[in-house]
């Protein structure tokens, strides 16, 4: 396979809070190849958004990237090495803050956020914001940039772009605003666009239109995407490969068809089972019991074992790293679950344990703030 466009290795991002260290992203690795849409799925609190901000080095204090490597087109976005005194320090070839700002963000890697109202400035016109962005990043003069901006608005399906150019964000509907942000992201023809739940706040009909448009534009510009979402249906629709996250870790990684039809991790299957289906009537939903534990104090062993219907004694002791489970000639498929033979830690002999999934209805409390008066 060709050299990946973006390669993330063992990325760790932590937040240092008064209550302790929150390990929001705890050693994730994945690649994005050219022209590919890679999904990043998980429930709220899984660390999806922290992972994407880390890629752009946008994590703010008290958060910090504490380990791992991020390579983008042969350049090092993040990398550490051990200094003479034994302390970790950034490597020399790591891009400086200024290079990140001027070369990478927006030009090479663009990001689309979930809430389009918060990403657009309410006191400037939509066209003006788009024009300014193009002017600065593509070294065009104001008139050319305006022309380009109108073309981009038409490209993303805004009706009557010439007259809407002078309107303000509040005059646009939610779907239209998201289209403007997509136009903005595409305007500099970046190699990679990170889309952080861009359609979550939209109606299904609008979501459908936007996903269709993204697929078309992706073919036209050959842009790669990292698509962050909690919605398995969106994943099924547009992603080529998928990473499933649980509590700061990627627990399964596969091509989209394999993920749905040859699911290897109990969390992924539980997630798929818990969804009501639009295409058939399901008599009873099978929810995942309990809630996701806090990343400040993750369970020992496999992090999912406290909610896993297939948990055994060994799951409490062994922390599984994702391993390659595909056979020769198949597409790569990794999963972090010891029930597979590749782990060989004695899962089959281990006795099953009592978990929330096996032991009844009581819903667990979130770890913090649960004290009674």
């Amino acid at each position: 396979m060709s050299e990946p466009l973006l390669s993330v290795r063992d990325l760790k991002t932590q937040f240092f809070t008064e209550d302790g260290t929150v390990r929001a992203v705890d050693g994730i690795s994945f690649d994005v190849h050219e022209g590919e849409i890679v999904g990043l799925v998980g429930e709220s609190g899984a660390g999806k958004s922290v992972a994407t901000s880390s890629i752009l080095r946008l994590v703010d204090s008290p958060g910090e990237i504490v380990g791992g490597e991020i390579e983008f087109k042969g350049e090092t976005i993040f990398g550490l090495e051990e200094g003479d005194d034994g302390e970790l320090r950034p490597r020399d070839e790591m891009l400086t803050e200024e290079e990140m700002r001027q070369r990478i963000r927006g030009r090479e890697i663009a990001i689309i956020f979930q809430d389009p109202m918060e990403s657009l400035n309410p006191v400037f016109t939509v066209g003006g914001q788009l024009r300014e962005f193009i002017e600065i990043n593509r070294d065009l003069d104001a008139d050319e940039a305006k022309e380009e901006a109108i073309d981009m608005l038409r490209e993303v399906g805004i009706p009557a772009p010439e007259s809407r150019y002078d309107e303000y964000p509040h005059q646009f509907s939610g779907g239209m605003r998201q289209r403007v942000l997509i136009a903005m992201a595409l305007a500099c023809q970046p190699d990679l666009i990170i889309a952080d739940e861009p359609t979550t706040a939209l109606d299904v009909t609008v979501e459908g239109e936007i996903l269709e448009m993204v697929t078309e534009l992706q073919e036209k510009y050959d842009t790669s995407f990292i698509w962050v979402t909690h919605d398995m249906s969106v994943v099924a629709e547009i992603c080529d490969r998928v990473n499933v996250m649980y509590l700061g870790e990627i627990i399964e990684q596969a091509e989209v068809d394999d993920l749905f039809y040859d699911t290897k991790h109990p969390y992924t299957s539980a997630l798929l089972d818990s969804m009501p289906r639009p295409d058939r009537t399901v008599d009873e939903l099978r929810p995942i019991q309990g809630v996701m534990p806090e990343a400040i104090d993750p369970p020992a062993g496999c992090r999912f074992h406290s909610r896993c219907p297939e948990a055994r004694e060994v799951c409490r002791e062994v922390h599984p790293e994702p391993r390659e489970l595909s056979e020769d000639g198949e597409a790569p498929h990794t999963a972090a679950c010891v029930k597979h033979d590749a782990f060989d830690v004695g899962y089959d002999e281990s006795p099953p344990i009592e978990t929330q999934a096996t032991g009844g209805f009581s819903a667990g409390f979130t770890e913090t703030g649960g004290e009674a008066e």
């Binding site: 459908g208 249906s233 099924a236 008066e373």
Partner: protein, 454 residues
Amino acid sequence: MTEVGPPESDPEALLQVRDLCKYFDNESGLLAGVQLDDEFPYVSRSTSDVRAVDGVSFDIKEGETLGLVGESGCGKSTLARTVLRLLEPTSGSVYFQGEDLAELSGEPLRRMRKNMQMIFQDPQSSLDPRMKVGPIVEEPMKAHDMLDEEGREARAKELLEKVGLDPQHYNRYPHAFSGGQRQRVNLARALSVNPDFIVCDEPVSALDVSIQAQVLNTMEELQEEFDLTYLFIAHDLSVIRHISDRVAVMYLGNVVELADKEELFENPKHPYTRALLDAIPVPDPRSGGRTALLSGDVPSPIDPPSGCRFRTRCPEVIQPDEYDMTEDAWRNVVEFQRAVERRAFEETDPDALRSRYFDDAVPSGDAGTLLDEALGHIERDEFEDAERILVERFADQSVCATTTPAYEVPSDLTDGRHYSACHLRRDEALASAVDEPAVDDAARPGAGATEADD
């Protein structure tokens, strides 16, 4: 015959909503709507109402769940609040256990409210952060003078257990609970006064899927145990399909289709319902994705389209009687007209436009002449004139624009009734009305379809 909504009326139903309307003033204040003119009388006042709910009728039988689905802004929440009389209806009536809520006021209304409760979308903001969970659950009982203090506490604890929480949590504050658990507290609070009817306004849409399933299952268990009737609002069709017995689809303040769940999902008879169903993503990469997407935006409820409100986006608008185009040619005309309205192209050359929009079928006769005229205007950059011709002579002439549809059609899959507000169903409705002439007046020609009032 004036009934425009679903022509149902079951005197046994727990809740009967008839022709319910709720309009909001678009502007408020002393000088709202005041305009200055050049001529006498110089000052005029015109108010434009937002027609959030416009002539909705339906029944909810005891013990059933009616799902209400529609895009954001279609009036679902306004309808729910108006049904509970949290908002004053503009007109129409809501019969709950035989009494018209729209007529009640003061103490009788307050007493009635004991039987109707509501659960809101945001579990965070619907619980007072400074009250403990126990007193939150007791509050409605206090308001309705139920039990003494000890009895209330005992009941609150019992209810907490029923909704899947630990009764020991009586003394905790809402912030100590996760979103799903807060929604359970909301459920317990709604149940505390032993209501018959609960309106659930998007109760699970703020929750993660895995938690969503837990709460939905609990709601179903409680329904069975306490014999509850739900009006369940959601924008997520998968959730609606899971929980409802019957489903009403709303578009721009109207109910466009109402039928039993299986019937509606497997045999939809309104183009909007079909479009909505086609737009749901299926969690299956082999499903082939969504098809036939709707184009355009929902029109403004201040000035909704005449006749069928969906006609401006409908893929199946009916050809006006005066023309005799082929189906393909008519579709091309519709597509072209919408493109002109949206200013979707810059091209002004008639030949280029012809090859782009009328490649496979060109309208002939009168329609062809009108089209030439419109293309001529576009060539001279007179988009507005072209738009006027296309809209007035084509779109506004369709039966979809001149009459408001309302038909009861036969159900193919279930015994329940099936209401569809679409003129394409006219023949079907007529045929079934001939079979059973006594059953419903509303499906007779001219009766079900009332003239558009604007």
